[in-house]
């Protein structure tokens, strides 16, 4: 039996008020979640980038150390090479000076250049020529000078002049043996 002609309205728990509440909280929670996911993602990338940067920095550090070692080695090579080149140049000048020192009237037959000394063998017209023209300059260079003379066939004098620097110790023995 029908009591009303109006069709009954269907009842639902999702009333407009309830829908409003759900939408409001839905939007709020989704915003919070988005922020949370963003933060999670950023923290992950920060951590990853930091690891990468630290590794790259360590690699750079290693490379710098290696480069510094190479630089030090090249500088060492350069220093040694320059020392050797200078020694060669000094040696050339010393030999040139030695030959310039010998006057025309004296003829050398042998010259031995030692680390701290000089031995000259030669022939001189007389002792005075030797003493004034060769021994005097030799004395100004070397602290110890020993000369011995013996006559040559043509009336001139053979001489052996041994000249040493003050700190000469080792070569002395070597020279004595050679004599």
């Amino acid at each position: 039996m029908k009591y009303s002609y109006v069709k009954p309205r269907k009842k639902t728990p999702f009333t407009p008020e309830f829908q409003l509440i759900i939408i409001f909280f839905g939007i709020s929670i989704s915003m919070l979640m988005t922020t949370y996911i963003f933060l999670l993602y950023k923290n992950y990338t920060f951590e990853k980038d930091k690891m990468r940067i630290v590794n790259e920095r360590l690699a750079l550090q290693k490379d710098i150390e290696l480069l510094n070692t190479k630089i030090a080695y090249i500088q060492k090579q350069k220093a040694l090479a320059e020392k050797i080149y200078t020694n060669n140049t000094v040696l050339r000048d010393s030999i040139a000076n030695l030959f310039d020192l010998v006057p025309e009237r004296i003829t050398l037959s042998k010259a031995q250049l030692l680390k701290n000394g000089l031995i000259l063998y030669g022939i001189t017209p007389n002792k005075d020529v030797y003493n004034f023209m060769l021994q005097a300059p030799l004395r100004s260079i070397f602290q110890k000078t020993y000369t011995s003379f013996y006559p040559a066939k043509n009336g001139w004098l053979h001489f052996v002049s041994k000249n040493y620097m003050e700190d000469d110790t080792t070569d002395d023995e070597e020279l004595t043996n050679e004599d």
Partner: protein, 185 residues
């Protein structure tokens, strides 16, 4: 006065309170600590970048210095790397002598961690000038060579017989193999 609250309203209030509590708790317990961590990590990364750029600049400067040294001292570096070849040496320097004889190369005690080889030389020159020119040429040769005492000069007719010792310096391959063989970044 009677307040008429329907069951539906009670459900709505309960759901609202639960959702509100969730939002509050989530914000304070999860979101804010995560935000703090974000700020700290961002600062740490910024600091790390700053440090990295400092190292990068220093590295660039070091590379530039290394390359400059390398290019300025190319001859010396190559000379230290070269193995002494007596035949080539004789060929390069025979112009200064009438005859040039080199003895066998002997390994000497290392100097400053460099390998040292000694070679005795006997030669004949027509004038001391040849010897001076030879000493100049030695400084430009393919090896690092030091002419050493004792040096003997002896008259031999119209020629001068000379004998001297040369020290050849080279990289110590055992110790410096990594140094000489490596390249800059």
């Amino acid at each position: 006065m009677k307040i008429n609250i329907t069951r539906h309203h009670i459900y709505m209030i309960t759901v609202s309170v639960i959702l509100f509590l969730f939002v509050i708790l989530f914000s304070f317990l999860v979101l804010i600590p995560e935000g703090k961590e974000y700020r700290q990590k961002r600062l740490a990364l910024k600091k790390e970048f700053k440090e990295y750029y400092k190292y990068e600049n220093y590295h660039d400067e070091t590379v530039a210095k290394y390359k400059e040294l390398q290019s300025k001292n190319r001859h010396i570096i190559t000379a230290f790397d070269s193995i002494f070849n007596p035949q080539r040496f004789q060929k390069q320097h025979k112009n200064y002598f009438s005859s040039l004889i080199l003895s066998k190369l002997n390994r000497e005690k290392d100097e400053d961690s460099f390998a040292v080889y000694e070679v005795n030389t006997t030669s004949k020159i027509s004038s001391p000038t040849n010897f001076y020119d030879f000493l100049d040429a030695v400084n430009k040769s393919d090896w690092i060579i030091g002419v050493n005492f004792p040096i003997d000069f002896q008259r031999d007719g119209e020629m001068i017989k000379s004998s001297f010792t040369m020290k050849v310096y080279a990289n110590n391959k055992d110790k410096n193999s990594t140094k000489s063989g490596s390249k800059a970044k």
